[in-house]
Every structure is written in structure tokens, then in C-alpha cells.
Symmetry: C2
């Protein structure tokens, strides 16, 4: 078991109608000027926008709005946010939306405290030392950005998508009402399910020996997500299943399922290039395609971890043939992705073989990066994975 | 799934030699005067005291010492600590020891911010609004006070032992090095194992329907603790098993295993009276005696929860007779307690039948309290439980 630091300071208000307490929550923290940050029209359609405005008015705290966050949140909007925060002395950012809105808020939050472009944090040339506190109302269970220390931004002038991790990316508070996800459609819901699973699965299948407590928690989370996923695809308004997904969204990426383990997440790194280059590809869909392809390359090199997955998560009956048992587990996960109508080939995402070389090259930072996962993922391996996912 | 607030702000530094970074950790937080709070002679024997002093000197932060915390930490020492904090302008308390030292520090931390006796927090006549930050170096895996919002103090003038929960009881940081528990003897180790298990078990067997994600995490934690417990009893220096116990100690009582569930913990309430009255009874030993007795009264009223425990934690093979399956699970837990040399009868703790009425009466606050667990525990039921545990 490796040494680790565990730091999840975010105060989570979980459950029905929790967004109706926003006013009290805001007043608890004594901030004076809020940047209300959100996406496109969806929170206006669902009525959440009006609710938030109403609560902001009740709180009597001054606020300024910045809408317009798109999927794969863009640096250009972050820079606009930074400018507003500096000019208006914003001391709290309220992000209302999904992972994109929260990540955009996180980048603004660290950017507002420095006099250089926060993209330097994304490409790891600078390390954040301070941030404006961020609170969020989450509207989709997927990215887990509400409790994670991760922030992924796309530089729209260079088309690079980069993630960085920092304690300054941890939110002050998160309001998680599963009812707010009732309106998320089946495709986005399924993408979310995959993303949630992958945050734990990529931590679970990682270099190193077993870590029994962390492993058991990871196994329990994956089983709960698969069960809830099946329920939600049939009945989108099943509260308990939506609640399981939402809470798993947070726990799967807050660090809990990697305590004592290596943290590489090479499939995530590869996928960022895919959905970064093709704006119409959802991150979860990209992961559903890439993980099984990666796993079929990797299973021999972490056989015990894959067997744990097969036996304890996917209920594979042990046989004498361990490798076959491992493959069976991987295929069952792939089957689950198909069952919830996720793509499992790049073809289904309209990515053609002619794009593979460039994707692999850029994902590995112009061929210079090697990810030391249970297998080393360099340009060559990235290309192999893409080819086998075609 | 009930609504809940989840708040675990404590920064955990987990792993080998982490206490050797105390100096850097302290300097990160910019405090100016520390109260170094600890127990009796044990940290001097193990050399931890010298290490801490050395780190304090390295940090160049001024400090004052308050030793003398006993098991079942006493209000009289808390009051001494409060006086020191006020007089010396202490702005950080460093607790080095087990749950008793940390709880004593927590009580001092809230007491130093008010001009009345902090016992009023313990008996819930007042609610804390502020606290001095507390950091800890943990030396025994048991109480989980390092991440919990709980604080249990004994009023040595009235002999009452009372616990209260507050966000102000959450620590700023906790240094958890499993190696520091190598020297904990078999009896105290076993008491710790029981305490860790009970923090989750009492949350797991609680009123309400299943909460799949929380349940799976609880099941995984209990299984990991039982496995690690068996290893540690044979090999006290097995790092990974000690690490599992230490991390489970934190996660079992930080709220994770009750998210979305009722929180009553009636066996803990009853046990506090037992170890409060008899200073020689360890809390974990008391729990080992009382839980099976309570469970055999309660199983019919939460059969599904007990069956989950039997089938998913204790590996009972399901039969047609559900009640028998539930009882089998309870008995297997009792067997595990015996296996790790814990008492399972009050007789083994030298508690005599003549004491039962007074114990039940005081545990239920002079007969006035009713705990609404899966069964209602009032004076009469408390007495029945004690009798069946004789």
C-alpha cells in the first residue's frame, strides 16, 4: 500500500430539493460577490436558472453572470471569467451545470489569483498556490468534478485538451440533487455511467499489489453503478438509482478509490485527445470504445487485478484458465456498455483509420509522452489501441 | 435514500514515516502557538514524543505541552487545556495519541472559543459555533476520531460519559502512519478492530431501506477489517494489514458508511455507560459483548439488513429459513470476536447482574431516553439487552 494524501474538503449537500437551500448555504460562508457561471440554455429550460436567481436574490449577495460554457470547456471563456473576477472583485464562483461548467469555474478560480494565463496550469508549467472558492449545483452525474482535484480545459486557439490536478481544484461546496438529473437523456446518462465507472476502474486496474480496503470500496462502487445504470436506463425517474449514480459520480473521482494505489489513468489521457479533436464525441462514449481495447492489451500484465474485476465485479465463475477468465470480465464490461447503448468501436464514433496516427501522436504530446500504467502507453501503444478499437 | 450532508475536510497524510513531515505540514498552515496534547507515558516509551518535539523545534512554532489524557478522557483535563489555550493564545492543537487524546483536544478546541464550560456541548445544551483547529498523529486504530465529527468526554465530577457531534469536531489534519500501531498489544488491537467494525455495522443495521452504494462500501469495509484483523492478530507487524485497519478506522466513522441512512448507534450509546462506569472496561470490549445481544433482539425488525450482513459479509449460504440465516450471521460475528480474544459476555468484563438496572437507567439518561433504532431502545429494552449479555 503506497503512501497517500487524502483531502476532500468539499461540503456536499445531497438529496431532494437541496438547491432550494442555496440561499442559506451561501450565507453560511460570508462571501460578497458571486460569479454565477453556467452553460447554454438547458438550465433555463429546466427552470433551474430561475430558481438559482431567486436564491441569489434571497441571499442578498451581489452577483454577476457568465453563461456560455460548452462541452469541452474553452480557455477563451475562462479568460473572460478571469477578467470579470478581477474587475468585479468576485470572491465566490457558483458553477451550475455539469463537469464542463465546474471545470471552467475551477480554471477561472485559479486564474483570477495570478497575472498570467491560467493555461500555464493546464500544461503544468505553473502550479496554483491560491484560488477563489467554487461552489456548484450539479446537473449531470458523470465527471465527478464536484469533488475531484481535476480540471480539464481545451485551448481553443491550439485545439489542445489538457487536465491538471491540484488541491486548489477542490470545491468549497457541492449541491447534489439527483432529481435534477431526471431530464438528462439516455445517451448522456449512459455516457455518465461509463465516465463514473472509468474513474474507478482506471484506478482499480493500476500498477501495484492489492489494496484490500480500497479494492473492496472500488468493487462495491462499480457493482452499485452497474445495477443503478440498468435501472436508470429503464426508468429515468428512479430516485434511488439516480442517487446512486450521483453519489458514485462524486466518490469515484474524489480519490477514495485510489487510496494507496498508483494513479495513471492512461485511457482517460488517450480519450481526452479523441473528444478534444472531435467536439461531437462525448467523453464517456470515447471511454467506452477505448477501455476494452486497452484492457485486452493490458490484462496479461496485471492479471490478478483483472481477475478481481472478473470474479468480484462481473461475477465470472473461476475456471482453470485464468487468462480466459480475465478476458471474460473485460468482454462483460463491453457487453454492459452495449446494453446501455454505448458505442464500442471508433467506427460508431465516425473516427476513421486515417486519423489514428495524429490522434496517437497528439495524445502522447507529439510522441514524447509515455504513461507508465500496467502497460507502458507510448505513441506506438496508443496507435495499437486505436487500431484494435477501430 | 435519505438526504445527507457529507463534510470531511480533514487532510489525511497516510503512510510510512508521515510523522517525519510534521514540520512541513505545520508550516503549511501558518499557525503561531501550538498546544501539544498527549496521554501518559506510552509516546515517550516508543520514541514518538522525542520525534514530535524535534519536529516542533524544526517548525520554529512556539508550543506548550499538556500531557495526562487518560482512557475515557476527563472534563477536568479539558478545562485545564481550555485555560492554557486562552492564556497562551493557542491557535492550533496537536493531539498525539488515540481517540481519547483526540477527543480531549476536540473538547478543548471548542471550549477555548467560549466563556462557559464546554461540558454544555457534551450534554447538548449548547452548540459549538467555532473551534481552534486540531491536528493529530494517531497511534491506535480504533475510534476513528481523526476524521469523525464526534467527541466523547467523561465528566469526572458526575461520572457521566457523553458524546456530541458537530462540524467543529472535524480535524484540520491527521497523520496516519500504520507503523506507529505495531506496538499496540493484542488486546487493544482487538478492541480497536471491534470499534472500527461497530462504527460501520451500527450504521449498516439501521432503520430504512437499502442504500446500494453506501451498503456496498460498508460491506467492503467490514470484510477488509475482518481479513486484516485476522492477519494482524497473527503478525502485528504486517504493514498492509495494519494499514487497512488504520484507514478503515478513519473511513468507518467519518460518515461515509452512513450516507443516506439513519444514524442512531444505540449499542454505542449503551456501551458508553458501561465503559464510563467501569474505567477498566475498554470501549471495544464492551461493544463486543453488547452488539450480539442487541442484534439477537433486533434482527426480526430489520431482517433484510441482517440478511445482507449474513450473506454478503459473513458468507452465510442462503437457506429457506431467513431468520436462521440472520442469526447465523450474528453468531459468526460473535465467533469472530471470540477468535480475536474479545469477551462476549458481561461476566467476562466482571460486570454483575446487580449493576444492570443502574447501567440501563443511566444509559437511558435516568430512564428518559428512547433510541429509535431498528428496535426502540428504552430503559426496559436496555435492561433486557444487558440481561441477555450476562
Amino acid at each position: 500500500m503506497n503512501n497517500f494524501i487524502y483531502y476532500t474538503p468539499t461540503e456536499v449537500y445531497f438529496g431532494k430539493k437541496q438547491e432550494e437551500h442555496l440561499n442559506e448555504i451561501l450565507n453560511k460562508y460570508h462571501y460578497k460577490k458571486i460569479l454565477f457561471h453556467y452553460g447554454m440554455s438547458s438550465i433555463k429550460k429546466t427552470g433551474l436558472y430561475d430558481k438559482v436567481i431567486n436564491q441569489l436574490k434571497l441571499s442578498k449577495i451581489d452577483y454577476v453572470e457568465l453563461p456560455g460554457v460548452s462541452p469541452n470547456p474553452k480557455l477563451s471563456l475562462v479568460l473572460k471569467g478571469v477578467e470579470i473576477c478581477k474587475k468585479e472583485n468576485v470572491d465566490l464562483i457558483l458553477a451550475v451545470g455539469g463537469g464542463s461548467v465546474i471545470d471552467s469555474a475551477k480554471s477561472i478560480a485559479v486564474g483570477a489569483k495570478v497575472d498570467f494565463n491560467p493555461w500555464l496550469f493546464s500544461i503544468k508549467e505553473k502550479t496554483p498556490q491560491d484560488h477563489i472558492p467554487v461552489g456548484a449545483i450539479l446537473t449531470i452525474s458523470a465527471a465527478g468534478s464536484d469533488m475531484s482535484d481535476s480540471c480539464v480545459i481545451t485551448n481553443d486557439s491550439t485545439n489542445e485538451k489538457r487536465g491538471f490536478n491540484s488541491r486548489h481544484n477542490r470545491l468549497l461546496f457541492a449541491i447534489l440533487n439527483p432529481e435534477l438529473t431526471y431530464t438528462v437523456g439516455p445517451y448522456q446518462t449512459a455516457c455518465g455511467i461509463v465516465d463514473i465507472m472509468m474513474h474507478t476502474l482506471e484506478r482499480f486496474i493500476s500498477p501495484g499489489d492489492d489494496t484490500p480496503l480500497t479494492d473492496n470500496i472500488a468493487i462495491g462502487l462499480l457493482k452499485a453503478v452497474i445495477d443503478a445504470g440498468r435501472i436508470v436506463m429503464k426508468n429515468p425517474q428512479d430516485y434511488d438509482a439516480r442517487a446512486t449514480l450521483m453519489w458514485a459520480n462524486s466518490l469515484s473521482h474524489n480519490g477514495l478509490t485510489s487510496c494507496g494505489r498508483e494513479f495513471v489513468m492512461s485511457v482517460h489521457q488517450l480519450e481526452h485527445e479523441l473528444s478534444g479533436k472531435f467536439d461531437n464525441i462525448a467523453h464517456g462514449a470515447g471511454l467506452a470504445v477505448l477501455w476494452p481495447a486497452w484492457a485486452l492489451k493490458a490484462y496479461k500484465y496485471a492479471l490478478n487485478r483483472f481477475l478481481k474485476l472478473s470474479y468480484e465485479v462481473m461475477n465470472v465463475t473461476p475456471t482453470q484458465n485464468k487468462e480466459a477468465d480475465a478476458i471474460k470480465g473485460i468482454n462483460l464490461i463491453k457487453e454492459f456498455f452495449k446494453e446501455i447503448k454505448m458505442p464500442t468501436t471508433l467506427k460508431e464514433l465516425n473516427v476513421e483509420e486515417k486519423d489514428f496516427e495524429e490522434l496517437a501522436y497528439n495524445a502522447m504530446f507529439k510522441g514524447k509522452r509515455t504513461l507508465k500504467d500496467v502497460i507502458e502507453v507510448d505513441y506506438k501503444m496508443a496507435l495499437e489501441i486505436l487500431k484494435s478499437a477501430k
